[in-house]
């Protein structure tokens, strides 16, 4: 029973942390740089 309390607690904390992190990223406009990064594979190399 103690193991279950521990695991439910830790799991909820991890989920909460992940949700907070996501909300923070979205609010902060954290992914604007991603548009340039997604073009990386398309940059021409002389051998490709």
């Amino acid at each position: 029973m103690n193991v279950l309390i521990l695991q439910v607690f830790v799991s909820l904390m991890l989920v909460l942390l992940a949700v907070l992190g996501l909300l923070y990223s979205v609010k902060h406009g954290d992914h604007e740089h991603a548009d340039r990064l997604s073009l990386l594979p398309l940059e021409d190399d002389e051998g490709d």
Partner: protein, 777 residues
């Protein structure tokens, strides 16, 4: 600022592609051979090295580590250099990685047919080869991270995160699951026993699938799909979300291989829940890859590369839906141990891994040789042959698996088993195995066509190394957060508080736990509101952008993400106080004869077809006896629960049949079980057990907590002889003469022990009462 021309090391890429093609063909050929043997057992030609149970691990290791391994290294070396705009850091390390990996494969190809095996699935290679794998993996890691450190492109593209996840997690998995106590250069015992060993094994086994067969290939997909489609990935934001959720969740899924077994129920439930939840991040990758083709779907008709990549993603989606489905306890009750699982594995291996390899090879090879693909038509034919092959293969095994599962469950109106003979279920699905073999041969044929096509392409061109011109700037000071700033962040403090409190909650009552939980949620709300109200500097880089530019910090975060699942699942079973009884008739170590017989059992790979785990299901208990309890395995190093039933479960085999039955069954299975497809193991009547190893084996097992006394070790040979003589005398009464030191006698001794206490004429001498082994269960 200066302009620099970087020339990529594509020689290593070409080598890995060649090795991938060669070993892919080998792996599939071995697969075809063992599929043939399932239909016609005579196909082993009576040669011990070719028997199904020894070749099956060769097939799985070749498919995973030789075929997918080499293919994945080719894709990683090609894409990493281009995404970093830097040559691999060390040509020497690249060479060591390549040749070292091939030597490991050759070592596997020699040792596995010889029966040198740990019997742990996808980790069968014995400890000297495990050490070699660790060394080569470290070489690979150093080369890779060194290249990242020398990169000329600051931020890490998503593919590189997947490669980091692979390198870090495979290292952790391999080291923990390979913890063994050596006896000789070719024999060791797992330090974990029974239930613990099962949990560690499938924590490893499922995550070998996750971090060897999935994450690096997803990384490769994220590079090659945009390249081939000439479109950027659909959603970079989606790739961030699905990456972190995938690497975090995958680790927890291991126990779905152990549903309804003697594994504690809480672990089974965790495995099931996380496996079902894993559907979401997996399909995140699928959606991202597929929708990258928006606006370019016409290429699917004209470009065989796109055909293979899209079909690969389709099979990936199928497998990552089927996997969570199979992880549901009620579905698993039908499917576990059947061919449905094999069908699931192969839709992933042939569909996802095989097609990704083919698509990327068809894309890379012409460019690596400065020419065009030799025959686009042959590539199209390959695609259709392989697709037809997979469909035949998988559908045949779906039907076979469900049929077999239903036949095992079926009851007559008065509640008896409708199919009491296990062989009946095998005979019923035999025609489907022929369809499976046809599908597999079609797939292999397509693969060989690809090998021809790529060889002709290479011969028509000349090796060309890719180049890029970069502008190298002087590094300028960027205001970056200090460690002091980081440790005073509310998020960090919250996590620290949660971790500290976790340590105290293990001993708390339910009400205390609930109260603390409520307090923490309130605190989190307050922290969030305060956080939201702060004025923000919108020009500063976001935290994920910062992380993407720092490979080391990224790797540390990733390590926490992947360790969480392992710690939560493994630590309680290994370090919790013993929860099972340690005394009782069945809780006795194996006698020297039974131990020798067990080692023959693992060498011959009997666990490949026979399980030793009667599940907590009526169909199992009605057929095999009382369900298996965790305390029955406390001295099993390694565990032998098995994962497939091509033959019946053996956990309560002891005492079911007389010694003569077992002797006859091993010499000629059809003499006792007409219609059986089990191969003969007649050579065990010729091979002798090495008596000089008995004491050494028992001493090794003492070190991992098996309570052999020193008296028992000293008297091992005598005890062995006494027990062997009883079996030999019993066989002689039935007219069978076999010397006492033959392996078959030991094997019979082991089989007669299963599910019972010791069967020796006199008990092993003990100096004191047995104490719980290290850690307990």
């Amino acid at each position: 600022m200066e302009q620099r021309v970087i020339t990529y090391d594509d020689t290593t890429v070409r080598r890995f592609i060649a090795a991938g093609v060669i070993f892919g063909a080998v792996a599939m050929l071995v697969g075809a051979i063992i599929a043939t043997q399932m239909i016609w057992w005579q196909a082993n030609l009576g040669v011990p090295y070719l028997v199904f149970s020894r070749l099956r691990p060769l097939h799985t290791n070749a498919a995973i580590f030789a075929f997918v391994g080499n293919s994945m290294f080719a894709g990683i070396y090609y894409s990493t250099q281009r995404l970093c705009k830097a040559r691999m850091a060390s040509d020497l390390l690249s060479k060591i990685h390549f040749w070292g990996w091939q030597l490991i494969i050759v070592a596997a190809a020699i040792t596995l047919p010889l029966g040198i095996t740990t019997s742990k699935e996808y980790a069968e290679l014995e400890w000297p080869i495990d050490v070699a794998i660790t060394v080569i993996w470290v070489v690979f890691a150093i080369n890779f991270f060194w290249t990242l450190a020398r990169r000329n492109e600051k931020n890490l593209y998503v593919a590189l995160w997947f490669y980091i996840a692979t390198i870090v997690t495979i290292a952790v998995l391999h080291i923990v699951n390979s913890l063994e106590i050596p006896v000789t250069l070719t024999k060791s015992y797992s330090i974990f026993p029974g239930v613990q060993d099962a949990l560690v094994q499938w924590w490893y086994g499922h995550n070998a699938v996750a971090f060897f067969l999935t994450t690096p290939i997803l990384g490769i997909m994220y590079y090659f799909m945009p390249k081939a489609a000439e479109r950027p990935v659909y959603s970079y934001r989606l790739s961030i979300v699905h990456f972190w959720s995938l690497v975090f969740m995958y680790i927890w899924a291991g126990p779905h291989h152990l549903l309804h077994t003697a594994l504690p129920d809480w672990a089974q439930s965790l495995g099931m829940v996380f496996s079902v939840a894993l559907w979401a991040p997996s399909w995140g990758g699928l959606i991202n890859g597929m929708l990258t083709l928006r606006g370019a779907w016409d290429k699917l008709r004209t470009d065989p590369v796109i055909k293979f990549l899209v079909a690969a993603l389709t099979f990936y989606g199928m497998s990552t839906f089927e996997g969570p489905l199979l992880s549901i306890k009620s579905v698993n009750a039908l499917a576990h141990y059947t061919d449905w699982i094999i069908g699931h594995v192969h839709s992933g291996a042939l569909g996802w891994n095989g097609f990704m390899a083919a698509g990327t090879f068809y894309w890379m090879v012409p460019r690596l040789f400065g020419t065009k693909l030799y025959s686009k038509k042959a590539a199209e034919v390959h695609f259709w042959m392989a697709t037809a092959g997979i469909i035949l293969y998988v559908v045949a095994l779906w039907v076979a698996g469900i049929s077999q599962g239903l036949m095992w469950k079926a009851q007559t109106p008065d509640g008896a088993l409708a199919y009491p003979s296990f062989v009946e279920t095998i005979l019923a699905i035999r025609p489907l195995w022929m369809v499976r073999l046809t599908g597999g041969l079609l797939y292999l044929g397509g693969f060989l066509l690809m090998a021809w096509n790529l060889t002709r392409t290479a011969l028509a061109g000349k090796a060309v190394d890719g180049q890029v011109t970069v502008t190298v700037e002087e590094p300028h000071a960027v205001p970056e957060p200090s460690a002091g700033w980081l440790v005073t962040r509310p998020g960090f403090l919250f996590v620290l508080g949660a971790v500290v409190l976790s340590f105290f909650l293990g001993g708390a009552s339910m009400m205390t736990g609930v109260k603390v939980l409520v307090v923490l949620i309130i605190l989190a709300e307050v922290a969030w509101l305060w956080f939201k109200a702060r004025p923000r500097d919108t020009t500063a880089p976001g935290w994920h952008q910062l992380v993407e530019g720092k490979p080391l910090f990224f790797t540390v975060l990733l390590l926490f993400a992947v360790l969480a699942g392992g710690i939560a699942q493994l630590i309680p079973t290994i370090f919790a106080p013993s929860a099972v009884p340690w005394t009782g008739e069945k809780q006795q170590p194996y006698s020297p004869l039974e131990l020798a017989g067990r080692d023959v059992y693992t060498r011959e790979g009997c666990y490949v077809c026979h399980s030793q785990m009667i599940r907590t299901l009526q169909e199992d208990t009605q057929r095999y006896g009382a369900y298996s309890r965790p305390e029955e395995f406390i001295y099993d190093h390694p565990f032998q629960w098995g994962s497939k039933r091509t033959g019946p479960d053996l956990h309560r085999e002891g005492g079911k049949y007389p010694n003569l039955w077992h002797y006859s069954h091993l010499m000629d299975p059809r003499s006792t079980s007409p219609g059986s497809n089990m191969p003969s193991f007649a050579w065990t009547a010729d091979y002798k057990v090495d008596q000089s190893l008995l004491g050494r084996k028992m001493i090794a097992l003492q070190k991992v907590g098996v309570p052999y006394s020193n008296l028992a070790v000293d008297g091992a040979r005598d005890a062995y002889r006494k027990q062997a003589d009883t079996i030999v005398a019993d066989l002689a009464k039935e007219g069978v003469a076999v010397p006492w030191d033959r392996e078959v006698v030991a094997l019979i001794g082991y089989l007669q022990r299963l599910g019972r206490g010791p069967q020796m004429p006199a008990p092993l001498p003990t100096a004191a009462a047995p104490a719980p082994a290290r850690g307990g269960q």
